[in-house]
């Protein structure tokens, strides 16, 4: 025999199934809408399952449930939460998507709490029993839910503060906060008499402080360096320079790591001011390197001279956009010091023409290695 509560949820499931079917057939369905309705079916079905298994197997409850319908419902503040959620959804639609998502969360959370409370209120005439029923159903959500919310709030607010203050200040602030938390832990652990009273003061105060600091930081925005960095995109590939060093960021940290020896098709070495090349698998010097067309190919550059050098590859020239300006094409490694290595990965879509042959050069050193793309 099904209790009223179960019937309610079963009905809700059935209704949402009907709604989904109608939606899919009659309304031009969008993915999100269909998903929302499927989500509704799933949650309603879960809740009806929960309610059937908790209550319906227990024949006494059925009788109690009948009694319960006569009793008055307890006061509830969930309607207010739901209303708040609805307001946030509307507000979010007009303003920020974050508010919208939060509003949905509040709406769903409040709705579930309200429904379960309403349902448990009708479970029996015994208020204590009702609240236990409610706890049984929601306990599985409330502990992890509240913990997750608390974690996210703390972590999020802290990160806002770190983002707003300068790098060094963030480090120092972090250190101080951690030390204070730890110290407070010791104080409360040592002075049990203090604990109850002080905790009730310290905890709200620190949460309030954190909240204020966090919100203020979030509103004041991130520190200038980060804003600038985001705007200027320091490490974008366009900043790679084969001539004079102009960018403050891109070309300053040559990484002298060769990711994968097996990927290197040829090694270009500069020694005693002379450029020479060797190809993988062949034990002699070559003056031409052949690279398959449109294939990501890696060339290793090794500088054995004292001065800093870079390997430049010249790939002809091309018109810039629709203008008549012709710019040379090509790319280069970063500057490398003595005994260091750099790799250059090339993917060349088109072969050279007779007028504009491709080549590898090292500015400041003699010699040129021809590059052939068949």
């Amino acid at each position: 025999m099904f209790t009223t509560g179960s019937k309610y949820f079963i009905g809700l499931t059935a209704l949402s199934v009907v709604a989904t079917v109608l939606y899919l057939f009659l309304v031009n369905p969008s993915d999100l809408g269909a998903l929302a309705l499927v989500g509704l079916i799933t949650s309603a079905a879960t809740l009806s399952g929960v309610s059937i298994f908790t209550r319906d197997s227990d024949t006494e409850t059925v009788e109690q449930a009948v009694d319960a319908s006569a009793g008055p419902a307890s006061a509830s503040f969930w309607p207010i939460v739901v209303a708040l959620g609805a307001a946030m959804v509307l507000l979010g639609l007009a303003t920020e998507p974050v508010v919208f998502v939060l509003g949905i969360a509040v709406l769903v959370g409040g709705g579930v709490e309200w429904m379960v409370q309403g349902w448990s209120d009708r479970a029996s005439a015994n208020a204590a029993y009702n609240s236990e029923v409610r706890a049984k159903v929601l306990g599985g959500i409330e502990y992890p839910g509240l913990s997750a919310v608390l974690t996210i709030i703390v972590a999020f607010l802290f990160s806002r503060i770190f983002l707003a203050v300068s790098k060094d200040a963030a480090t120092i602030f972090f250190m101080l906060v951690a030390a204070v938390i730890f110290a407070l832990g010791f104080v409360f652990a040592a002075r049990t008499d203090l604990r109850k009273k002080a905790l009730s003061v310290v905890l709200p105060v620190s949460i309030a402080l954190l909240a204020i600091a966090g919100v203020v930081s979030a509103l004041s925005g991130e520190r200038k360096q980060l804003v600038d960095a985001a705007r200027e995109d320091h490490f974008a590939i366009e900043h790679r320079e084969c001539g004079e060093e102009a960018s403050k960021y891109y070309d300053k940290h040559a990484n002298n790591r060769v990711p994968l020896r097996k990927a290197v098709i040829a090694t270009i070495t500069v020694e005693n001011n002379e450029v020479s090349a060797k190809m993988i698998g062949l034990d002699r010097k070559v003056d031409t390197i052949t690279i398959p067309r449109m294939n990501s190919t890696t060339v290793l550059f090794r500088n054995l001279d004292d001065s800093e050098r870079r390997l430049v590859v010249n790939l002809g020239s091309a018109k810039v956009g629709d203008t008549d300006v012709v710019e040379p094409l090509g790319t280069c490694t970063q500057l490398t010091g003595k005994g260091q290595e750099q790799v250059l990965t090339l993917t060349i879509p088109k072969p050279a023409t007779a007028e504009e042959p491709f080549s590898f050069t090292v500015p400041g050193a003699n010699g040129e290695i021809k590059l052939v793309v068949p």
């Binding site: 913990s147 703390v154 802290f158 060094d168 972090f174 604990r195 320091h234 940290h253």
Partner: protein, 203 residues
């Protein structure tokens, strides 16, 4: 998650079953952590293979903020200490101190997660997106996996506080705290390894 041992097991122990002497739950947690070692091993290997592969975007040494990350590592280490205190309190059946230390551990853990959110945001602003380069993908995957582990740990800690407070724990409370502690220490140790390999050792 601590799992409730069957009663038959408890009874069987009385009958002198051949066993390791470690409780089922704790043994299972040890095995799980053994498995986790390989998980992080795989992720760390991936990172070590790819850390120098930057075809676009910043290199590791260009963006890492070693002092800040050192502090956050230190915070995580301190949380290990408070976890130890929580476990000893629980073994003394001093549950109010247990709760206090669990709370301290959880808050320190949450600030660590805050530090990680900060770090990720700052890196993103500086041009290190998830799919920018192999370095960025493997960096975010590795540290992100660890961050999720910490977050799950914090939720476990806070839930343990709640469950202990409401006296809803099943089984041996001290052991439940100890098992959460095992997990927490593991997460800390993994971070020390990540911090050393990812941040400190120059490529």
């Amino acid at each position: 998650m601590a799992e409730t041992a069957t009663h038959s097991a408890d009874h069987a122990a009385d009958h002198g079953h051949s066993s390791t002497g470690i409780s089922n739950n704790k043994l299972a947690m040890w095995l799980f952590l053994g498995s986790e070692c390989l998980l992080f091993g795989g992720l760390i290997s991936t990172y070590m293979l790819y850390r120098g592969r930057v075809s676009d975007g910043p290199h590791p040494e260009q963006i890492f903020d070693i002092p800040f990350t050192s502090v956050s590592s230190f915070v995580l280490l301190m949380s290990s200490l408070s976890m130890v205190l929580a476990v000893t309190s629980a073994q003394r059946k001093d549950y109010s101190r247990t709760n206090l230390w669990l709370l301290v551990t959880a808050i320190l853990g949450a600030t660590f997660v805050g530090g990680q959110i900060y770090e990720f945001t700052a890196f993103y602003r500086e041009g290190l997106g998830f799919s920018t380069s192999l370095f960025s993908s493997s960096f975010y995957t590795l540290t992100g996996f660890h961050g999720v582990h910490v977050t799950v740990g914090v939720i476990m800690l806070l839930s343990t506080v709640g469950i202990l407070k409401k006296n809803r724990a099943t089984g041996d409370k001290a052991e439940s705290v100890e098992i959460v502690g095992l997990y927490w220490h593991f997460v800390d140790v993994v971070w020390i390894i990540i911090f050393t390999l990812v941040y400190l050792i120059p490529a």
